[in-house]
């Protein structure tokens, strides 16, 4: 049976969505135990409780941060189900559904996809994309697999669960002055880099937070390590991960 962990409802609409979800799950015959997180009971604590009760499938119902919190406890221990509510495209792309009805049907069919995750050393796993977004262009340096060292100025760095890092920057070149009066030129230069590895150390100048779903979870310098095929996720039939 499934153990559903609902994100603390932020408004009436979400409460109504939860009620609809309950009805859908009951109709499909997969209504298990449902618990809602609160400041007193965090999603992590509820996940541990579910695992201790012997549930082998934990279903995260909510947005990105909530899903990530549950996934980090579930990995290598149970199967993760997801019902996305106000979740980002990366979540809906992974599970192959966008609405709660289709998500509930996926849970019933139970097609499992194994995905990798990353570990922020020493002991903080991440399931969803992590980002570093400096307020203005900053310097980043990477050491990839202790083999390659890279430096760049960047506006945004995104790290996904396969430990692929995308670094983007955009800046203007200085405009040339004609006869000291008229400004000419000033091109926008966009740079995009992609790296991947099994271990990446990231140092930023200044020190910047690593964000998941917009919330800081760690601070650079950090070392990230790939945890290959560490999480089983229920996805829609025909979804390519």
């Amino acid at each position: 049976m499934y153990y559903y962990i609902l994100e603390a409802p932020s408004n009436r609409a979400v409460r109504q969505t939860y009620q609809r979800l309950r009805d859908t799950l009951t109709n499909l015959g997969i209504a298990g135990e449902m618990v809602a997180s609160s400041p007193a009971r965090t999603p992590e604590e509820l996940t541990v409780m579910g695992l201790e009760k012997g549930y082998s499938t934990i279903v995260a119902v909510g947005g990105d941060y909530h899903i990530n919190q549950i996934a980090t406890i579930v990995m290598n221990r149970a199967v993760l189900g997801i019902v996305p509510i106000n979740a980002s495209k990366q979540v809906t792309d992974l599970i192959g559904v966008t609405d709660i009805k289709a998500a509930a049907e996926s849970l019933k069919f139970r097609r499992l996809t194994t995905v990798s995750t990353i570990l922020v050393e020493p002991d903080l796993p991440i399931f969803l994309n992590a980002e570093i977004i400096p307020p203005k262009m900053a310097k980043i340096s990477l050491v990839i697999d202790n083999r390659v060292r890279a430096f760049a100025y960047f506006n945004r760095a995104v790290i996904n669960r396969s430990l692929e890092i995308e670094i983007t920057s955009t800046h203007l070149t200085e405009a040339k002055k004609l006869f000291g009066l008229f400004e000419m030129g000033g091109n926008v230069i966009t740079s995009e880099s992609h790296f991947h590895g099994r271990s990446i150390r990231i140092v930023t100048d200044p020190e910047l937070p690593l964000l998941v779903a917009g919330k800081p979870i760690a601070q650079a310098p950090v070392t990230l390590r790939l945890l290959p095929e560490s999480l089983k996720v229920i996805t829609r039939r025909g979804t390519v991960s």
Binding site: S116, K136, M137, D145, R147, V148, R149, A150, F151, A152, Y153, S162, E164, I167, T168, S169, H171, L172, T173, E174, G186, I189, S191, E192, S193, H194, F195, H196, G197, R198, L226, P228, S241
Partner: protein, 164 residues
């Protein structure tokens, strides 16, 4: 997207792109395509395609199956299948490939080796291992070359954008 590891320990994945404002040192090794637009000081190895863009400067050997150069390479190039030097390419080092295309305007200073089934007299050779060495001198003016050599001392400071 499936990731794996080869016997040598390098990861396979979506490929690597070194952007225009990135400086990289060390051995860049990827099972998939490598695209370079920034500065590299070290070896570049791919089992597939290596593309060195117009803005790129590579100081070290480049090895790939199909290699296309539009930037500056100071080091040897080994392309198992095909090597193409575009009109903006500047190569200072030896090259080795079976299939070579040099566009008008490219600068190449070095030795070219093309593995062939024939020797210099046109007779078939016993094995495929032997190669016919060809020495090619650059047609570029002395000032062009010295200018390029002077610009080789690129460092981290070169990456700093002129204006944010």
């Amino acid at each position: 997207m499936l990731k794996g590891t080869t016997a040598n320990g390098e990861t396979s994945g979506p490929g690597t792109t070194v952007g225009v404002n990135v400086a990289l040192s060390g051995t860049l090794k990827d099972q998939n395509d490598i695209h370079i637009y920034g500065l590299i000081d070290g070896e570049v190895i791919s089992e597939r395609t290596v593309t060195v863009g117009k803005t790129a400067q590579v100081k070290g050997p480049v090895r790939g199956n199909i290699v296309t150069i539009a930037g500056v390479v100071r080091g040897s190039i080994d392309a198992a299948e095909k090597l193409e030097l575009l009109d903006s390419a500047k190569i200072f080092g030896s090259i080795s490939t079976k299939d070579l295309v040099i566009h008008s305007g490219a600068i190449f200073v070095g030795k070219c080796t093309m593995p062939s089934d024939f020797d210099e007299s046109g007779e078939p050779v016993a094995t495929d291992e032997e190669a016919v060495p060809v020495h090619v001198e650059t047609t570029a003016s002395e000032s062009d070359t010295s200018e390029e050599l002077a610009s080789a001392d690129t460092g981290e400071a070169d990456l700093k954008p002129e204006e944010e």
